[in-house]
């Protein structure tokens, strides 16, 4: 089951404690599963509108068109994926032959797909502008900084463990992932690149949940009389927490793990949109649940 995967993803690699709570992992799995199924259904509707027979990455990109930041993160991911296959191909001669034999020009295929599609739906030019946009992704930056802080205090054994858990993803066991999403019961199925994107979105959802839950937890830890406690960044507090917990490990194993209540509160806050433009700032909603990943 994917609980195992989520468990290992959360632990550590995305910012939770070394031994996250099982209940939290189950809850996160539930949330991710529901969200992905909903997303898949909406994507299926979109492709039906087009009269297509498979769910393509274009359908998913279409669903994400409203949230520029998340879309940009997805695009960056796709480009890095292209780039990585290009490099690895140059290194391993077997890969090189494989690629040549497969005939079609595979270089930068994801980038081409994305560019062509966004070109076709872009009315104002702002989507295409994203390709040149070099703005720093704040969320990504925060995650990198958090990881850096965490790893600084680890010893090499812990660090090796950490790295292993970071390498987990939903794309590794593609068939298991497909089954988990119950794609076989669907009329229109996603193609290979679309599955890659879905695996990435699942990962992103977990990451977002952990980010938000950490924020929620930080809010809960308010120091009496300190008016600025809400302004301190979540990573800062977590850093201090983890520094203390490593000194008194074992007993404190669950001490700073994310609780299910944090997750629920995070989702509640996320779905609760405030402000006049709230309906326009996020992608598809259905049944009141906003998508975390798009």
């Amino acid at each position: 089951m994917h609980t195992h995967c989520i468990y290992l993803l959360k632990r550590y690699s995305l910012g939770d404690a070394r031994r996250p709570l099982h209940e939290t992992a189950v809850l996160v799995e539930d949330v991710v599963h529901t969200q992905l199924i909903n997303l898949l259904q909406q994507a299926a509707e979109v492709s039906q509108l087009r009269g297509a027979r498979v769910i393509t990455p274009e359908d998913l990109l279409f669903l994400m068109r409203k949230d520029k930041k998340k879309l940009r993160r997805l695009l960056k991911y796709m480009f890095i994926r292209d780039y990585k296959s290009k490099i690895v191909k140059g290194i391993d001669e077997d890969d090189l032959l494989e690629d040549k034999l497969s005939g079609s020009n595979n270089a930068n295929k994801r980038q081409k797909i994305a560019q062509d599609f966004l070109n076709s739906i872009d009315q104002t030019g702002e989507l295409l502008a994203m390709f040149e946009d070099d703005e720093i992704d704040e969320v990504k930056q925060e995650r990198m900084e958090r990881a850096e802080r965490q790893t600084r205090i680890m010893d090499s054994a812990q660090y090796a463990e950490f790295c292993e858990s970071r390498q987990l993803s939903f794309s590794k066991k593609a068939s298991k992932f497909r089954d988990w999403l119950d794609c076989s019961s669907m009329e229109i199925k996603p193609n290979v690149v679309a599955m890659e994107i879905l695996a990435y979105l699942a990962y992103e959802t977990v990451a977002q949940l952990v980010d938000l839950a950490l924020l929620v937890r930080q809010d809960m830890v308010t120091k009496a009389g300190d008016p600025f406690s809400h302004a301190i960044s979540a990573t800062f507090i977590q850093y201090h927490n983890s520094a203390e917990s490593t000194a008194a490990c074992g007993v404190e194993a669950h001490g700073n793990a994310i609780q299910p209540c944090h997750i629920r509160e995070a989702i509640r806050r996320y779905s609760h949109k405030i402000g006049p433009l709230s309906p326009f700032t996020n992608a598809y909603r259905r049944n009141g649940t906003a998508f975390l990943a798009c």
């Binding site: 140059g90 090189l96 965490q150 790893t151 090499s156």
Partner: protein
């Protein structure tokens, strides 16, 4: 054509007559091409040189590339003498640039037999001593030339003697004639051809262990070699196979397109720190690929850096780029050593 061939014969006879011990002189040209020309043609005078029509053909075929060197060499007779010595020397120098002579030199000497085997018929001492050097200078060749370093040894202490080992070289060459792939596939050993899948013949040879993609236009890609000389040698061998099948294959525009090297810094690296401080150059997505991809600007090399300390360098057109890139990255990696 005839004149060119006689020139070649003259030159080759002179080369074959030497023993390989010569006073060092300043190197005149890069060692790669002359070495190769010497090696392959040196074998020919040992076999029945003049009577072998095939050899003449080969010489004629290669003369289009190699002739550019001949006028320089033939104008000054005595340049032929120190040519071998200087070649040794340049090899020595380029090696000493990147590292101090170390026991690994002797270990690498074991590579040389692989080169000399096909040519070891006669004059074994002659061919061995020369053919050993293109690989890496082994213990045999060290006493041959007294080392007078031509360029200052650069920051050897920084790298603690770690030199990236070449793992794969991709090169291309133009055989400059239309080829009948079906015929090649039928008559050549170790050739596969599946026109429905891919429009080229895939040929493999065992020594040097390489794979070639041969296209009907006459262009060829050679992969899998572990050094520049091996890649060129392998490409020549493939060209010869094609020639033997009756095509007027030549050997034009041999170019190394990509070189891949790897090494181990022997300490774990904290990639999270590296990706944060070198954001403009690195991307690290562990869920996608376990290594950090570092795009170095100067030289333009891509490095794959792993937590274990292993580093893979790719995208180089020359060996010096790989060494330079590693020298650049090593101090940075030391800064992120995971205790």
């Amino acid at each position: 054509m005839e004149e060119e061939e006689t020139y070649l014969e003259l030159y080759l006879n002179q080369c074959a007559a030497q023993d390989g011990l010569a006073p060092p002189r300043s190197p005149l040209f890069s060692p790669v091409v002359p070495y190769d020309m010497y090696i392959l043609n040196a074998s020919n005078p040992e076999t029945a040189f003049n009577s072998n029509p095939e050899v003449k053909e080969t010489c004629g075929g290669f003369s289009s590339v190699d002739l550019s060197f001949l006028p320089d060499e033939l104008t000054q007779e005595d340049k032929n003498q120190p040519v071998i010595g200087s070649k040794h020397e340049t090899e020595e120098n380029s090696e000493s640039q990147s590292r101090l002579p170390s026991p690994s030199d002797i270990g690498l000497g074991s590579n040389s037999p692989s080169l000399s085997n096909p040519h070891s018929q006669q004059h074994p001492s002659d061919t061995d001593s020369v053919q050993a050097s293109p690989e890496k200078p082994d213990s045999n060749s060290l006493p041959l030339a007294s080392i007078t370093p031509m360029t200052p040894v650069t920051s050897v202490s920084e790298c603690c003697g770690i030199v990236p080992q070449l793992q794969n070289i991709v090169s291309t060459v133009n055989l400059a004639c239309k080829l009948d792939l079906k015929k090649i596939a039928l008559h050549a050993k170790n050739a596969e051809y599946n026109p429905k899948r891919f429009a080229a013949v895939i040929m493999r040879i065992r020594e040097p262990r390489t794979t070639a993609l041969i296209f009907s236009s006459g262009k060829m890609v050679c992969t899998g070699a572990r050094s520049e000389e091996q890649s060129r040698l392998a490409a020549r061998k493939y060209a010869r196979v094609v020639q033997k099948l009756g095509f007027p294959a030549r050997f034009l525009d041999f170019k190394i397109q990509n070189m891949v090297g790897s090494c181990d810094v022997k300490f774990p690296i904290r990639l999270e720190g590296l990706v944060l401080t070198h954001q403009q150059f690195s991307s690290y997505e562990p869920e996608l690929f376990p290594g950090l991809i570092y795009r170095m600007v100067k030289p333009r090399i891509v490095l794959l850096i792993f937590v274990s300390g292993k580093v893979v360098l790719t995208g180089a057109k020359e060996r010096s780029e790989i060494c330079e890139a590693f020298e650049n990255i090593y101090p940075i990696l030391k800064g992120f050593k995971k205790a």
